[in-house]
């Protein structure tokens, strides 16, 4: 086996040194009836070339070469090549959690920079080193709000990513946290009147997403006011991190739970991604996850350490703020490098391109079908209502090696034939025109079919 650095002679010599007759001597503590005396039924040992071939085959079966309009919590942005050059360095890739600070300053300093940039972009005062993803970050942010307020009930916008809502429901159920859902209005934003009715003195927090699942940017200030008037906190989930380049930060929020996948992390069929929680300094002791802080060594030299660990499971056990241990460190490093590459000016220009592409697509789609929720500003996603079932239209798009918007029926039956489309800087005008052409064709054929129906009835 090529990963094992011992010759048969080495193994014999070690056995001899420890006074064992055979390797079996070392497994006698396992009761005999439980020792496996056969080969595992897994595929035979493969050569590296065979492994690469096997996965190439799988890659070809997996939409390789298709252009896509999918977003909905997972976004295709360009990944500058130096991200992989740098994260592939063994010193980052094959290091453990930086508990031994003296030989982990590389990881620690880069997390400190990550925390700083996340704070800068979200207008918060502290950010943690990462959470699993946007969905679990949102659930843990809500649990944090429950601890901070001493209240238990939670009000959640239906325009929050449906899978984030599902994850929250799983986490909340056993914490005895009642969840109330608030509908969206004609603009796709949270319904203010319904929200006001649901928020009361028992509400720990309101959880919204902005830009929300439909791409609409919420009026964060207004929702914050409703929360704060009732002594509740506002938790804002951000699924499309690139929006922060051009969309005002939700600075009225108390806690931000974000997904940083858009910052240089591959789509990877849904993971690994990078959740983050950011908040005000006064809330930091209820924050879950690792934190890096600045300090000095014995000679007064600047250095970084993991800090405020008394919140964490390895110290506090069942009294910890969360059970999280392993996080998404290497993915956070990708995001960190991405933020450094685009920086103050590039991130804004990148976000502007996304805005322009989506605006163009909205205008083009709008000529042939209904674009819903146009009363609120949006970033790079929008909802198109077609006459025909979007699955049928998407089937035809596949023939053009294109993946259409996400049909919303599954999550929002009341939206009928609506689907959620996303345009990023990688979406080309010709892609948009082709997709719009197919939607237009679909609308025309539905209309002419209707006319035929009417004629038949008239006859």
């Amino acid at each position: 086996m090529r990963y094992l650095p011992k010759s048969p002679a080495d193994r014999e010599a070690i056995l001899k040194a420890i006074g064992a007759r055979s390797i079996d001597d070392l497994f006698t503590s396992i009761p005999a009836e439980y020792r496996l005396n056969r080969d595992l039924k897994v595929p035979r040992q493969m050569a590296e070339s065979e492994i690469v071939d096997w996965f190439r085959e799988r890659s070809r079966e997996n939409g390789d070469g298709y252009a896509s309009f999918l977003g909905a919590g997972a976004y295709l942005h360009y990944r500058p090549v130096i991200i992989d050059s740098l994260i592939s360095r063994g010193e980052f890739l094959t290091a453990y959690t930086p508990y031994q600070a003296e030989i982990s300053q590389g990881t620690l300093q880069s997390i400190f920079e990550f925390q700083t940039m996340i704070c800068e972009l979200t207008a918060m005062e502290v950010a943690n080193a990462s959470m699993y993803d946007g969905s679990t970050a949102a659930a843990e942010a809500v649990m944090m709000a429950v601890r901070l307020t001493g209240r238990r009930s939670v009000v959640v916008a239906r325009s929050l990513h449906p899978e984030y809502r599902e994850v929250l429901a799983t986490y909340a159920f056993h914490q005895g946290m009642p969840l109330a859902a608030v509908n969206f209005n004609d603009n796709g934003r949270i319904d203010r009147r319904e929200l006001e009715k649901l928020v009361n003195q028992d509400t720990a927090c309101i959880l919204i997403q902005s830009p929300n699942f439909f791409g609409a940017i919420e009026d964060v200030a207004e929702v914050a006011e409703i929360a704060h008037k009732n002594g509740a906190l506002l938790v804002v989930s951000i699924a499309e991190a690139v929006s922060l380049g051009i969309v005002e930060a939700p600075r009225q929020a108390d806690i931000i739970a974000m997904e940083a996948q858009s910052f240089g992390v591959p789509l990877g069929f849904g993971g690994p991604y990078c959740g983050v929680i950011a908040t005000r300094e006064k809330n930091v002791r209820q924050m879950p996850g690792r934190l890096v802080g600045q300090t000095t060594d014995r000679n007064g030299k600047r250095g970084f350490v993991l800090t405020l660990a008394t919140r964490e499971q390895h110290i506090r056990r069942e009294k910890a703020t969360s059970n999280i241990c392993t996080n998404q460190a290497l993915v956070a490093l990708m995001a960190n490098i991405f933020m450094a590459i685009y920086g103050k000016v590039g991130l804004r220009e990148l976000a502007k391109q996304n805005l322009a592409k989506a605006a163009y697509a909205v205008q083009r789609f709008g000529k042939h079908a209904d674009v819903l929720f146009s009363g609120a500003p949006r970033f790079n996603e929008f909802v198109v209502q077609t006459s025909e079932d979007p699955y049928a239209i998407n089937g035809r798009l596949l023939g053009h090696k294109m993946i259409g918007g996400l049909p919303l029926k599954k999550f929002y039956p009341e939206l009928g034939n609506a689907s959620l489309w996303c345009c990023t800087e990688l979406t080309t005008r010709s892609m948009i025109d082709t997709a719009v052409g197919l939607v237009a064709e679909s609308e025309r054929s539905v209309k002419s079919a209707k006319e035929v129906d009417i004629e038949e009835v008239a006859r």
Partner: protein
């Protein structure tokens, strides 16, 4: 004379990325816009962002140098033995990284139609089948993002199972040698934690377990081999006691590197368990993550699995089943840390049944070699046979005022990453050493020499050990000050 493992070499200083920033520098270039420019204010109104504060402006070469310099301040498996107990710091094969970056795999969208996702689904299916066989269980979910997340998913399954029988029960039993995530997880799932004392061999006290077990106990969370690296020899009795009163046996699979291909938890009475793909299955730790924590289960827990569940459809294609009325729900968006599945499967294929068995045998062989090499020099609190890791204590060294953390820090000067210090809690001043199978005899000999040499220094010159490390770019850092007045971000000087 043997060449020592570590020497000093030039190590470059590097400030924070913000300290290199100046207006007008850039590391990015966008293509020309092929659609009309937009008036951002008109589109966004009040929601338009005006300023990105003190985000940096730097060039590409500066970013390359910045992160390369930072990287040289880290220790890594690629540099040498990383003997952290219970962390299984084994070699991370590079082919794993190559295949996970193939276009269709790296760029697959989680919502793309199943018709064009068969490659990813095939990977999930193949890995699931391998892990089910390796653990001897009946079904699996790959959705949990890390070990602790797997524990949470597992206890949700436990709760749903008992609930379906009418009563979720109240308590989880956890041995005092357990990892901190176990009690923290139980609390998250709404269970009370009851501590289970170990016996004089460091194993579960079977009589105590029998006394503590009753109809209010939902499950026992057992790490096996436990955190002393000892196999629970009375595992069949433990399972019997749990099952007799309707409880479940949960296995924390953190130490599965001692068992793969040699014994299967499903065969010795375990009802459910999680695996850490970033330990046993070689996916990189990456400075703290990402991980992946699949949960393998016995048949009776299957209805409760998180949704969606991967299924083979009548036409032979693979797809997801969302219609799971008894499911505990989702624990994460999409399907989990898919990129880690790719790596874990590449590792399994590179090994095959013979390689997996040899890997386990080498891991156990290595731990016993280190035990032999250090026995007598360091105190061995439990003489029970070791599997993949060995736990010593600093009892002999504390006489000179030297503790496990000091020895660990001195080890850095010899070119090694420290072992796990002060854990498990049942061993005061623990030195927990797990070499894994990835160490050659030469590297282990250097490690043993280093540890013996430190023990000698403790006798002759304890100050050197107490003030270690001496060769790193920073000396011991003031953690108390860091926590008392936290500085958690950089700020531009006014």
């Amino acid at each position: 004379m043997k060449t020592p493992k570590a020497t000093r070499h030039v190590n470059q200083n590097e400030g924070l990325i913000f300290e290199k920033s100046s207006p007008g520098k850039a590391a990015w270039k966008l293509p020309p816009l092929d659609v009309p420019e937009v008036d951002t204010h008109k589109l966004l109104g009040e929601a338009e962002r005006k300023d990105l504060g003190s985000m940096p402006e730097v060039s590409e070469i500066e970013i390359i140098r910045h992160f390369t310099r930072l990287s040289t301040w880290n220790y890594a498996i690629d540099l040498g033995m990383y003997p952290l107990g219970s962390c299984t710091m084994k070699y991370n094969p590079r082919v794993n990284e190559v295949v996970s970056r193939l276009d269709g795999i790296a760029n697959g969208h989680p919502y793309q139609p199943e018709k064009v996702s068969q490659g990813a689904l095939h990977i999930i299916k193949t890995l699931s089948d391998c892990l089910i066989e390796i653990t001897g269980m009946d079904a699996i979910t790959l959705q949990p993002a890390a070990g602790a997340h797997g524990e949470m998913t597992g206890l949700l399954l436990v709760r749903a199972y008992h609930q379906s029988k009418g009563h979720p029960r109240k308590k989880i039993l956890i041995p005092d040698s357990a990892h901190g995530t176990n009690p923290a997880t139980a609390a998250m799932v709404g269970y009370a934690v009851e501590n289970l004392k170990s016996n004089s061999h460091g194993m579960v006290d079977v009589a105590a377990l029998a006394a503590q077990m009753n109809e209010e106990v939902a499950a026992l969370m057992l790490t096996n081999p436990n955190t002393l690296g000892v196999f629970e020899q009375e595992i069949d009795k433990i399972a019997e006691i749990m099952h007799a009163k309707g409880g479940l046996l949960y296995m924390d699979g953190a130490n599965m590197n001692a068992l793969v291909g040699k014994a299967r938890p499903g065969d010795f009475g375990v009802d459910l368990m999680h695996l850490n793909l970033h330990k046993t299955f070689s996916t990189p730790h990456g400075g703290g993550g990402p991980g992946s924590g699949p949960v393998a289960i016995k048949k009776m827990l299957e209805p409760f699995l998180p949704k969606p569940v991967l299924v083979t459809k009548p036409d032979g294609t693979l797809g997801f089943d969302y219609n799971r009325p008894q499911s505990v729900g989702r624990v994460r968006s999409f399907y989990g840390n898919f990129g880690m599945f790719v790596r874990a499967l590449a590792y399994t294929l590179a090994n095959g049944p013979d390689g997996l068995r040899q890997t386990t045998e080498d891991a156990v062989l290595n731990a016993n070699y280190i035990r032999k090499g250090l026995e007598g020099v360091y105190d061995l609190p439990y003489s029970t046979p070791s599997m993949h890791e060995v736990v010593f204590s600093d009892k002999l060294q504390t006489k000179k005022g030297v503790h496990t953390m000091d020895i660990a820090k001195r080890l850095i000067d010899y070119g090694f990453h420290p072992y796990t210090t002060a854990f498990p809690l049942i061993v005061p001043g623990a030195l927990m050493i797990e070499p894994t199978e990835s160490e050659s005899r030469e590297e282990m000999d250097l490690f043993i020499d280093a540890m013996r040499s430190i023990a000698k220094e403790v006798e002759e010159d304890p100050e050197t050990v107490l003030n270690a490390p001496h060769t790193t770019r920073v000396s011991r850092l003031d953690e108390v000050a860091a926590a008392r007045k936290p500085v958690l971000r950089w700020k531009a000087s006014a």
